[in-house]
């Protein structure tokens, strides 16, 4: 598996839909100063967490491992890929290996397009470019994807989404 994951943030898309700033919990202040621990990193944003999860899901899927996707699904998961007439749930997702049907040869790049959040709801938009399918066939498939994530008990989980073949467009 030669999975290339790249995060190209399209500034036009992000500028168009910046979410309202989310409240950040007050940091816990220790009662005694701790000299060597002044380097606490800022908490990862929901966008960073969710994009990292998307990358991990595709990385594993490319190796024929759908477990990462499954373990990140929320109760009620229901997604509608282009090749089915209706959305499907976890059971079908597992049965078809997230569309790979068990293959592990997929080569695919990902580009983050946009992200928005409202409370415990978030939507991520990204593009994928598959150059080799799971069974090893060279392909040139470009998709646009949205996933909706829900914050369930403090953890972001994917509730559903849709994908489409990238439409041919003129300037817009």
């Amino acid at each position: 598996m030669k999975h290339l994951l790249s995060a190209l943030i399209l500034s036009a898309g992000l500028a168009a839909c910046q979410p309202e700033p989310q409240p950040v919990a007050e940091p816990e202040i220790p009662s005694e100063p701790v000299a060597e621990e002044a380097t606490a990193e800022a908490p990862a944003t929901a966008e960073e967490i969710i994009w990292a999860k998307e990358l991990a899901i595709y990385e594993a899927r490319g190796e024929g491992d759908i477990s990462v996707y499954l373990e990140n699904t929320a109760d009620g998961f229901s997604a509608w890929p282009p090749f089915t007439d209706t959305p499907y749930g976890r059971d079908v997702l597992e049965a078809i290996g997230g569309g790979t049907n068990g293959g592990d040869q997929e080569e695919l790049t990902m580009e983050l397009v946009s992200f928005t959040q409202n409370g415990d709801s978030a939507i991520i938009y990204y593009q994928t470019h598959m150059t080799r399918s799971a069974d090893g066939t060279p392909v040139d498939y470009r998709y646009e994807v949205t996933h909706t994530w829900a914050n369930v008990d403090g953890e972001w989980q994917v509730l559903g989404g849709m994908a489409r073949a990238m439409p041919e467009r003129g300037e817009n």
């Binding site: 090749f83 959305p87 946009s114 829900a150 849709m162 467009r169």
Partner: protein
Amino acid sequence: MKTTFASLFIASTMAFAPMSFADETTNTDLEFETAKDIIWEKELSIYAGRGDGDLGPYISNLAEGYSAWSPHMSTPNSAEAMYAAADRMTDQTEEELAMEFVGFTLNGTTAIIYYQTHMTRNGAGEEVDHRYEVTHTWAYEDGAWKVLGGMARSRPDRD
């Protein structure tokens, strides 16, 4: 505007059962069937308004942070783009469009609805035959379901 609304419940998609609602069990808006009915009614009203050249019902249902990705745009649109479109659409009053409910799911204060549309006349009055598949994500904001975003695609050929 002669918009026909048909609600086709596809049995296979209704297998997604209602979820746990944590602390929100007393709010019926967050119950599966109630949320589904509220949101589908809002979708119908949004399209009914649009068919009359009025994006007001859509705009009044936008959540903070709204961002949706229509098929003809290379990036998602914001609420500001919706406001601009509203000014351009007031004379687009001839749309004829049928809607079919496909699926719904809910987890806490996040909901997703899936449906199909079939446009047979566009807003300018031209006969068309456009079929789309749509998803909208709804967030429960300040006591009301509001649309946070979504995606639409031309209905793919499937054989």
